[in-house]
């Protein structure tokens, strides 16, 4: 069966390579100092979507992202790896959204796109680490959801079989479609960009990325090749309720931001002796680090 798949993806600051200017003096993230990247677990999600497309000819994979115009990078990266198209949700009214407002906007966009068979995103984004957006989108669309997915085993007869991580092991789950999945970072890594797709889609842009006067290199290409224009939607385009979008729709309020500095404590040297190993295991059990 051919599947309609939507991948939820987010452009995030690369918090894995944090330099000393990564935080502003006020304790917020200095986005300008950090390169913007495809949220790592969303790449794992994209790989799962692309594998489904490989196995089910005729399937389509759409990337959906919300963010400023430059977040179209995420869509391009998806197109370079085999996604069919992308949707950029961009509007000043979307700015400042917490997870609730974000999931509202994404769910409205998905309704507008037409309900897919599978919605798939990363477990969480490395900037907020909430892991809330995926589940909230499922709630708003009244869909089943499976979280912590590490592999998709099969899709047939309207059912999907998945492997998910649970405490101390894995669980194999069968669920009916349509469904929303969130994928763990230990799922298969995403495939690299493909040469032909990069050459095909390298000029793909959302209208807001282009100069207002339309004066740009290769302008005539956009008329000839509709796939070079990424769909761009505002709040009005997805019939959104302004009160539920962006800062206005976000009940989360940041009370305080604390700078945590990790300091190495005194080190302890252990030999490989039985006694030392046993002592260490006991200590770890007592501190509930293991067990």
């Amino acid at each position: 069966m051919s599947l309609k798949i939507v991948v939820l993806a987010k452009q995030v600051p690369d918090t894995r390579n944090v330099g000393k200017d990564a935080m502003t003096p006020e304790g917020t993230v200095n986005r300008a100092a950090l390169p913007a990247i495809f949220n790592p677990e969303d790449l794992n999600a994209l790989e799962q979507a692309l594998r489904l497309k490989d196995e089910h000819p005729g399937s389509s994979v759409s990337i959906l992202t919300m963010g400023p115009p430059r977040a179209t990078d995420v869509i391009r990266e998806g197109l370079f790896r085999g996604a069919d198209n992308g949707y950029l949700l961009t509007d000043r009214a979307f700015a400042g959204a917490d997870t609730l407002a974000t999931s509202y906007a994404l769910s409205m966009a998905i309704r507008k796109m037409g309900m897919p068979d599978i919605i798939i995103g990363g477990r969480q984004a490395i900037d907020g680490d909430t892991a809330q957006v995926g589940p909230q989108v499922a709630q708003k669309l009244d869909l089943n959801q499976v979280t912590y997915v590490t592999a998709i085993e099969s899709v047939k007869d309207g059912k999907i079989t998945l492997v998910r991580s649970i405490d101390g092991g894995i669980e194999r789950v069968e669920a009916p479609l349509p469904i929303l999945l969130t994928v763990n970072g230990n799922a298969a890594p995403c495939r690299p960009r493909n040469a032909k797709l990069v050459m095909k889609y390298k000029r793909a842009t959302a209208p807001m990325e282009r100069p207002a006067d339309g004066q740009m290199p290769y302008a005539e290409e956009y008329e000839k090749k509709p796939y070079l224009t990424v769909t761009q939607w505002s709040v009005a385009d997805v019939d959104g309720d302004l009160a539920q979008c962006g800062l206005a729709g976000s009940p989360t309020k940041v009370k305080a931001v604390q700078n945590i500095v990790f300091k190495a404590k005194e080190s302890k040297r252990l030999t490989g002796s039985e006694a030392d190993i046993e002592g260490l295991v006991k200590e770890l059990l007592e501190s509930h680090t293991i067990g």
């Binding site: 495939r191 690299p192 960009r193 493909n194 797709l197 990069v198 050459m199 095909k200 390298k202 290769y218």
Partner: protein, 569 residues
């Protein structure tokens, strides 16, 4: 994230050489395919941007996936299971990444699902891959065997085989036999025509076959019964799907562990003739080897870069006598020299690749239409230049690769001798580069004719006339003096008119030629980008000036009487 391409701006510099304009023009035939294929470029800048982006992808895969798997692949190696080869698990992952990225059949035309890339960016990809895993580099780079099938196979073979390579099937070139190594005229693998099934059958044994369990093999075999020399050899293509070739053993090697080196047994294996009978060695293997030699030159440069990176990092990190060892002139000298040889060798490699590109693109056009007289002249000129530089690029870069890994390991001191640092792997991997695809000694044999016919000297004299930056003028003048010494040494050897004397001096003369030509290429580079190349140009000038003096002294002092001292039998 490590990226073997963008981490080294010298590569982008080489890629943006002015000659690329002509290469792209020829390769893209006036951008005729821009409407037929959604990934075809629409103009020169677009094509160059495509190359840059693809190099960026390969640089990233090499810097991450392939680099991460390299140590495991080196330790695990391929497995001999039954009559087949199973790659090391990391090799499988590397190959999967490269195939998914669409990096196979890169130079093939789009109508066969290729990228229609010139040889130059393809060669650079080979360098990028080899820098992370030279053994995997072989498996991936053997895709360029398809060039030979494209050049000499028929349209039907093109349609059946090229798209398979573009989709990721691997290749091998089955030339060497137990008694036919450097001397391929002695190949005995027997090809007989099977009248009943209207196909050729191969029987015999091949040895030291890189990636010997490939999907598609180009095989050199004796089709003419009763012959014993090169004129009885033809080229065949064997498709693994047809069966008949088994892997008898995998060699246990010093280095490039990821690359399976196989002994193959052909038992009535079905095969197809490629091109004309009897032209196998004389024409097709020569073409195949020229491509492969460029590939090994690229591999050598890649390993040199990796060794330099390791040596530099260790020298910065390691402290002795209260300071980082990079501050000691004895260590700094090694690093500066490695870098100079690396930059010089790379400049030669890509100069050669560009020459190959021009003449091969014109060759290809000549199969579609008659070349104009100007084009024919251009084709001849660049073919000659490419043929003259290929043995230098292979010979010098593989020797430099050995020297560079030796010095980079030396910088590591005792730690370099331990198996804990990657430098030991680079040093082991480097060792084969000056041996396979023609030893350095055979590169000298291929190059010496361009010494005696004046081709190298003419290239030097032309370089001496070229514009260069103010800062490079003194070095250009020194290069002229070096060329004079070369000329003098060549005259001396010619004057002696003694074959043995000539052969004994050949390596010295060829190295002198290579040294001066590489210095000129660095002068060019440093004139265009002082920040990137000036230091290397100065260090290299000092280095080769001493080298030239050494070779010059040797040749000028050697008398025909002293030849007896060298005879060993």
């Amino acid at each position: 994230m490590a990226n073997n391409y963008t981490d080294h701006p010298e590569l982008r510099f080489e890629m943006n050489h002015p000659l690329m304009k002509r290469i792209v023009e020829l390769k893209e035939r006036g951008f005729a395919e821009k409407d037929a294929y959604d990934y075809a470029p629409i103009d020169f800048d677009d094509a160059m941007d495509n190359y840059d982006r693809v190099l960026d992808i390969v640089g990233e895969i090499a810097g991450t996936t392939i680099a991460d798997n390299a140590e495991g692949v080196d330790l695990e190696g391929p497995h001999h299971v039954g009559d087949r080869v199973n790659y090391a698990s990391g090799t499988d992952r590397n190959l999967d990444a490269m195939v998914k990225a669409g990096m196979n059949g890169m130079t093939m035309p789009r109508r066969y699902k290729g990228l229609n890339f010139p040889i130059t960016p393809y060669t650079m990809c080979a360098e990028l891959v080899a820098a992370s895993d030279a053994g995997f580099g072989n498996i991936w780079s053997l895709q360029d065997c398809i060039e030979t099938l494209y050049e000499f196979g028929d349209a039907d073979q093109h349609a059946r085989f090229i798209p398979r390579v573009c989709e990721g099937e691997t290749m091998s070139m089955d030339l060497t036999e137990p008694d036919a190594g450097s001397d391929l005229q002695s190949v005995m693998l027997k090809a007989t025509f099977d009248e009943e099934n209207n196909c050729w059958r191969l029987n015999g044994v091949k040895r030291f076959i890189t990636n010997g369990d490939a999907h598609l093999h180009l095989v050199l075999a004796r089709s003419e019964e009763g012959t014993t020399d090169g004129r009885g050899l033809s080229m065949f293509i064997y498709d693994k799907r047809d069966g008949g070739v088994n892997v008898r053993r995998i060699e246990n090697k010093l280095g490039i562990h990821g690359s399976p080196t196989c002994e193959l047994v052909y038992k009535n294996a079905k095969a197809e003739l490629v091109g004309d009978r009897k032209m196998g060695l004389i024409k097709y293997v020569m073409a195949l080897m020229n491509g492969a030699r460029l590939g090994i030159a690229a591999q050598s440069v890649g390993i040199s870069q990796a060794a330099y990176n390791e040596g530099l990092a260790y020298a910065r990190d390691r402290e002795q006598f209260g300071k980082a060892i990079i501050n000691f002139p004895a260590v700094a000298d090694m690093l500066a020299t490695i870098k100079a040889k690396l930059d010089a060798g790379r400049a030669l490699l890509y100069q050669c690749a560009r020459y190959v590109d021009i003449y091969k693109a014109l060759d290809d056009i000549s199969r579609e239409r008659k070349l104009t007289p100007e084009e024919r002249k251009e084709q001849k000129l660049y073919a000659k230049l490419a043929d003259s530089l290929t043995p230098l690029a292979k010979g010098m870069n593989s020797e430099y690769c050995n020297q560079n890994t030796y010095d980079a390991l030396q910088i590591h001191g005792g730690s370099g001798f331990m198996m804990d640092y990657p430098i030991q792997r680079y040093a082991r991997d480097a060792r084969i580069t000056s041996i396979y695809e023609g030893t350095t000694q055979l590169q000298v044999v291929a190059a010496i004719r361009y010494v005696t016919n004046g081709s190298y000297l003419a290239q030097m004299r032309e370089f001496e006339q070229a514009e260069c930056s103010e800062a490079m003028k003194a070095i250009q003048a020194r290069a002229k003096v070096m060329a004079d010494k070369f000329e003098e040494a060549v005259a001396r050897v010619k004057e002696a008119a003694d074959q043995e004397y000539h052969d004994l001096c050949a390596r010295h003369l060829v190295e002198m030629a290579a040294d001066v030509i590489m210095l000129h290429l660095l002068i060019y580079n440093a004139s265009a980008d002082a920040a990137l190349f000036e230091r290397s140009a100065r260090v290299y000038a000092n280095f080769v000036e001493a080298e030239i003096a050494k070779h010059h002294t040797f040749v000028m002092n050697l008398t025909t009487e002293s030849l007896a001292d060298y005879r060993q039998a």
